[in-house]
Amino acid sequence: DAGVTQSPTHLIKTRGQHVTLRCSPISGHKSVSWYQQVLGQGPQFIFQYYEKEERGRGNFPDRFSARQFPNYSSELNVNALLLGDSALYLCASSLATGGAVGETQYFGPGTRLLVL
């Protein structure tokens, strides 16, 4: 079975530009989460989507937005890019929101974004 896929693998942008990152979850998984990993740190939670609705948001500015499509794939959009947005962006999928008990998260290979 295919795992979580992300595109593109690498991306170079300049300050002020906009970027769209894409994620396809494991077949049958309905929940997608996005994480940002800055060099030397652990991943930080950005968003979680389930059944096309936002179910969680981390401490990120409004320049960050996301959506989930009927086929459960997802896009992460970042506007007005800053140098500090340079990071590895990871997508994770799971079966469902899990309610009060976390579901096992499966991560994609990530998109490396460099902002110049």
Binding site: S33, F45, V101, T104, Q105, F107
Partner: protein
């Protein structure tokens, strides 16, 4: 929010050695995962372990939720074990993971 701390931050082993990585969390957690991040950035699931002990080959993990810690054991380490090991905790509802600070492991010949 919850704090997740890992120790040691860095570890160098000779191939064949054993090691124990520790993960402490500041509050009650619903569940916990251990990951290995390879040099290309891929996060590989190792264990999903809310409590008790699990084993998978040369790796095993133990979580003592009441005492707010988890341990990852690596036996007979190999150079391919090199990378960063993260624990990550689920808190509250939903699937938000709070990651620890990571342990950078290097296994040398």
């Amino acid at each position: 929010g919850i704090q997740v701390e890992q120790s040691p931050p860095d570890l160098i082993l000779q191939e064949g050695a054993n090691s124990t990585l520790r993960c402490n969390f500041s509050d009650s957690v619903n569940n916990l995962q251990w990951f290995h991040q390879n040099p290309w950035g891929q996060l590989i699931n190792l264990f999903y372990i809310p409590s008790g002990t699990k084993q998978n080959g040369r790796l095993s993990a133990t979580t003592v939720a009441t005492e707010r810690y988890s341990l990852l054991y690596i036996s007979s380490s190999q150079t391919t074990d090199s990378g960063v090991y993260f624990c990550a905790a689920f808190t509250g509802g939903g699937n938000k993971l709070t990651f620890g600070t990571g342990t950078q492991l290097k296994v040398e010949l």
